[in-house]
Amino acid sequence: MKGAGYIFDAIVVGAGPAGSSAAYTLARKGFKVLVVERGRTPGSKNMFGGRVYADPIREVFPNLNKSAPIHRWVTKERISMVSGEKMTSLEFEGKKNVSFTTYLTELSNWMAKQVEEAGGIVLTEITVDNFIVKDGRVKGIRVGNEEVFSDVVIDAEGINRLLLERAGLIPRITPNYAGLGVKEVIKLSKEDIEKNFGLGSGEGIAWLLIGDIMEGLPGGAFLYTNKDSISLGIVVMLGSAMERMKEHISRYVERLRLHPLLEKYFREGRIMEYSAHLVPEYVWPAIPHRLYGDGFLVAGDAAGLLLNLGYNFRGVDFASYSGYLAAQAVEKAHSLGGMSAENLSIYQELLEKSFILRELRKFKNAPKMRKNERLYDFYPYLINAIADKIFHAKYETPKIMDAFKEANKGRIGWFTLIRDLYEVSRSI
């Protein structure tokens, strides 16, 4: 068969942050690497909210600060609780280069370019149909009736883990273990962004909102400032959102954009893009899934390596770093004599030792905590009602306790309040 002579040391499925990080690390070590991506360009199928934590990625790509498409360093964090047309916010400002905003398409493209410059091959518009499995060992990939072989396959196919499902290596994902992110990108001039959000040149804001702005959907809204646009969207827990959604999810985002508290920030804007994507929400490590086997490793979203704290999301850096660790595992297995599950099991150890699994374990109760409906509904109401009574007092200012009592109207007791507070501070 024509082309049957193509053999690689490693094939990486998916040119997102996980795949390209794995491929780049391997290519730099002299491995013959092929990356296959089903989108027209790297990053054309993935999506994120808007913010990336730099340090883990810089470990993988040392030239991150020099040449990566960094839009703005996040210097302002704002968390808001919304109730009707009232909003109470907590804001933090600090000027360190810890996380930045970007377009994931641009970042993925940049990473793929690093792979090619390091000697790897990146092919787009290639949809892998399945793994070639012989004697229980993954030997390569099948695309239509064509086969390409390799010593190891790194699966970084993202949350739609069709390959892993087809190979019977993992169970099908269910709505209870997935979130749904929906986002609009609104074009706005650099000057307007900096003026409207009170930012210096190159500075950005990460803004999360909860409350009735979500119209009863379990989840939160986010806003990130890019170079000359804004990413605005929501993340909902898919399982419970499906039961409650009264109309298409895009309508919720539409109303978010037109919300009287938000609309003024991007009135001059023009919508450029609408996108939606699943987000892994595994209850780690309650769901056992093997991230390695004979001839394969799983990294990134496909491995469920994403942290959603409600006030913060860590996806891209987790993905990138897990790809980096997968590459290290391959290198180690290579020195041990081959890509057997036993040799590749070092991947699990590397993950356990890394910040990724430490974080996921530490915050393993976060998904449960986020199921507490009062967080989305009652507390935003309560805090705004109290603030309203205190700040919008016309003649007499009530004491905070009296404002609380009046706002609470006996709806929750002290016990519930303290227990919720305890749960939240213990979970996140």
């Binding site: 024509k2 193509y6 092929l34 027209r40 360009t41 092919l123 518009e125 695309v143 064509e146 450029m272």
Partner: protein, 267 residues
Amino acid sequence: MLNIVVGIKWVPNTTLVNIDPRTGTLIREGISSIVNPHDLVAVEMALRLKNEYGGTVTVITMSPPSAIAGLEHVIGMGADRGILVSDRAFAGADTLATSYALAKTMERLDYNLIVFGQETIDSSTAHIGAQVASWLKIPYIYYVTEARYIEDRNIIRVKRALENAYETYELELPALISVAMHSLNPRRVSIYNKLRVKLESPIETWSNEILGLEKNCIGLKGSPTALAKIEMIPKVLRKNEVFKGNDVKKAARWLVKKLLEEGLIEI
């Protein structure tokens, strides 16, 4: 054997392009480019002919270097070789200057069939095929939906679609055919062919240093076409009135009255 040359164009994805209502120009910012979809149909036709009768498929485009991605795509589909005709001297070319440069490139190749798409989605002139054939002094035909090579007579027999009929023609080779849009479904790229792109570098760039074309015949200087003006078609404002209520008879009467008032119907 058929040695086929296909001409393609790398165009902005016009399905994504909006028009600035104030200036009347295309907003190209952030719009990705694609191979003109009608040209993919031409490539598909060429690949089918090659598969059936043997030979080669060479794809040519005249464009800035970004079009290499387009050549990679069609080689991914199965074309053998890509030639990017690219030089600052070619910039600003109208269809005459473009067809001249393309014809002069093709002259240097060993071909007996040239295939073009029907037209491009970004300009829709459908000139290039006919003009290339004229420069090369070879027969040409448009709106081809099927083609058969009859080797012993050195002809290509084509069926072409007109509005209400199919015609069959025989063209002596070398000849040029322009394939009717939507007549074939372009194939997906194959991983072996895409790997070939990366490992065997089947794409060449030909500048005017190679072609040596007279400056007066290329680029802006060789382009007599002048676009005088673009006028936007004014938007028709609709009144957008809605009848409220459930009474069908009333609704019908209301509608008829409105239409009569507007002079849209007569009794």
